[in-house]
Each structure stands twice: as structure tokens, then as C-alpha cells.
Amino acid sequence: DVKVTQSSRYLVKRTGEKVFLECVQDMDHENMFWYRQDPGLGLRLIYFSYDVKMKEKGDIPEGYSVSREKKERFSLILESASTNQTSMYLCASSLGRVLSSNQPQHFGDGTRLSIL
């Protein structure tokens, strides 16, 4: 079974801090994704990556950046945290663009981030 591990289940940070959320997958997947999930808004894509050192913006990239130095690890960075970034953050991975376009995404259990 694919395992996607997010470094923290709960995190509390202060406004203006630089925040790092880490995600690791153990199935050699090429694609990795970062979403945030808010009540009434559903899952919104922040950034995704098809390969090491490659990234693409999703629908709401403002205020975030990402890093993919190794294939198994995808990090989300809040450059200067703000209260409107309080949310549930979900990481996902999927097999890869070369093999098939219809692969399911495998999710971690999320990091509930509170910015005070």
C-alpha cells in the first residue's frame, strides 16, 4: 500500500513566521500535490510537481512556495504566515504522467495548521 506521511498532524504558528510542511511518499511516485481544505470550499490545489526540482502553480499559490529536492519528498513553505492561512493542508501523490493520465491520488492524513 502507498503511504503518504505528513510530518505533523497539528501545528500552531505565529503571524509572520516562515512555516515548513513536509510530505514523504514511499512508492516512487512522480506526481505530488499540496492542497488546502476549508469548510464550504472543498479541496483547493496550491502547487504540484511532476518531477524532482519541477513545480507548477495550482489555483491558489499566493503566499506559498514549494520544494522538491528528492523524488519522495515535497515541502510546502508559507513564506510569512498569515491568519488566513489557517487551514487543513493535505499532501497527495500519484504514479506518474508517463504511464497513465488517470491514476488515483493517495493522500496523507493532513496537517491542521493554526496561525495566531
Binding site: G42, L43, G58, N102, P104, D109
Partner: protein, 114 residues
Amino acid sequence: SQKIEQNSEALNIQEGKTATLTCNYTNYSPAYLQWYRQDPGRGPVFLLLIRENEKEKRKERLKVTFDTTLKQSLFHITASQPADSATYLCALGGRGSTLGRLYFGRGTQLTVWP
């Protein structure tokens, strides 16, 4: 931009009945559609995938239909059980440079009562 609507935010049914969840979309022609289940405090879990050239897919008590003319997918859970209570998400996927990216609906929260 594409828009995905799931029939309602909440659906309550009695145990043993069939639950039917709806996913409608506009401004998009997906190559496939996926359904996920999400429990409180957990990430979504993949359930079923159906391609644009398929009308119906089944897996145990689950059935998915896909009508590209109506731009709609129906997700059925037969003989529903309280353990089926969760939020169900539909997701659309396409072709081209965004291979692998999915567009998610907001979900329908299903409650099955005894």
C-alpha cells in the same frame, strides 16, 4: 473555468436503502472521473474511477455512472450501512499538460442512520 457541483452538502438515509450522490460539471470535458471517501480528520481515500468511454463501473456495493452528454456522474451505495457515513468527493481529470491533476467537488456528507 471548470465548475463541479455535488448535489447537496448533506444526505441522510436509512440503513439498507440505496444512497445516490450526484456530481455535475460544466466548462470541462474530463477524460475520467474519480470518487473518493473522506472520514473526519483523515485524507480522502480513492474508491472508483470511470473513463469517458465507460457508462458504468461497479465495485462490491458501489456503482458509478458517467454521462458525458448530461455532464453528470451518479454514485450509488446499495444496502447502505452506518459505516458508509462519510463525505464523498468527486474529482475530474483530463489530458495534456495537466496530466495527473484533478479538480475536486466540495463533497457530499452522507449519514446513514440505523
